[in-house]
Amino acid sequence: MPGAHIRAAHSTVTETHVITTSGLTKVYRSRGREVTALDGVDLHVREGEVYGVIGQSGAGKSSLIRCVNLLERPTSGTVTVAGQDLTALAGRGPRASRELRQARSRIGMVFQHFNLLSSRTVQDNVELPLEILGKSGKERSRKALELLDLVGLADKAKAYPAQLSGGQKQRVGIARALAGDPKVLLSDEATSALDPETTRSILQLLRDLNRRLGLTVLLITHEMDVVKSICDSAALMDKGRIVESGTVGELLATPGSELAAALFPVGGDATGDDRTVLDVTFHGEAATQPVISQLSRTYNIDISILGAAIDTVGGLQIGRMRIELPGRYEDNVVPVGFLREQGLQIDVVEPAAQPSALVKEGAK
């Protein structure tokens, strides 16, 4: 809230897990056919972080986020949010128990298509969760105006959603999601219906809220840029399973990580047959060392740079470079060892490496 104490300006991440799913499985049955949307998903989201789940459509992201607040009942497995086992609260039958509904009111959710009520003004939309919580009219309007101010829409309180742009609608959606003072915000492709510029401003807002309120954000997306610009941690989903997961730093430090490669692609092909192509990733201390010129001088080899980029991923300064050394890999074992000793992460690029599905998706 404005005026409320602002926590540490950078990271609010702690080691406590605020969302945990274990062995989460969701099978849809229709006309005798079974479709497994989630296949044993273990997810650990730490308190105060922005966690992105990325994958292509049909990977199960949407089912996953809906299982977190039990809008979808998992077929098996458990979901724990803020220490509360939601799967145990669910009760039998398809209807949500009172306890589950109370738990849901403490989990905010924003949607791809905003899902604002067209018959209500912006302010009344934000008040809706407070009505459900049984707050008094005075308290509702105070809180709603405060939240609209927080998302920068104080002047639109009396407007109807139809009079707003997409980005403004999503701001209202975010304000509404925050009405119940949630610790956790679920974002279901919140920026997928927005243009790139508006996407950036909405992501900025989410990041800002994450830092100012210590809000844990679990978001699903199919856009690599979303993960790149705001996520502390990420998971890659494919066919209902989590293929890779970890903090952005961990992912980048994982040799051969598909997510890291997609988050931070470097291009460039070998110029000839007798060449060794390496992807060098710098972060932290190593980024400040003049390793390439040291390598060149120490081993007296010519190094060509095929591609390079420096970027900020999840608040981390990362450099990545694709370099080419003369000779085959067998001839370059020593220089590669030298680079590894310098604390750099080295991935040897296979000559005819097929770009993964994810990278292709990102390139479109």
Partner: protein, 245 residues
Amino acid sequence: MTWSEMQPLLEQACLETLIMVGWSTLIAVVGGLPLGVLLVLTDKGGLLQNTVVNKVVGQVVNVGRSLPFIILMVALMNFTRWITGTTIGSEAAIVPLAIGGIPFFARLVETAVREVDGGLVEAVQAMGGNTWTVVRKVLVPEALPSLIASTTTTIIALIGYSAMAGTVGGGGLGDLAVRYGYNRFETGLMWVTVAILAVAISLIQFAGDYAARALHRRGGRSGAAPKLRLLKAKEPAAADVGKVA
């Protein structure tokens, strides 16, 4: 027949039609709205999915709606007598009119409610709302423009039915037109009733459309109201650059 002779007859008939249609519409709306909502909720994938209830209610509504009104009226004679103590007069006509109107309106409600975006229901569930909250805060308010249009259609249908009810002792404008226009060749009076009905129906339709459109414009789901504005270039929506809190 002079106007001074016609006037009291017309006044009386208008009043009777108003009573029949007014009360039966009220009952049809009060009875049809929950039935229509129930049909949506109990349908497959609905919040209260219940195949048995859905099939039974659906079947009752179908039969009630497809039965020719004149047959329904005759079939309900004993029931009408049980309720009002008579089968003659405007009050008695209200019973079959209302019973014919309920399923008619229920089907229209069902269609209107079904068009409400499922995402809104999901949003309210995610806030911790129960089924009753969903009905009260989402389904009915969001379907309101369509529900008003449905009410207009129902009123007009009931005016038609009321003319039929009139001929078997219900009174009203239909009765007047048949008794004087058909039986006594008073074509003048008949045409006056035709004119009154035409004007009344137009006015009701106009008022209903106006109300529905006003609500719709407010809610502004795109694609409906603004027809004239197509010629003018649409102004871009306010940019929300640099609005980060």
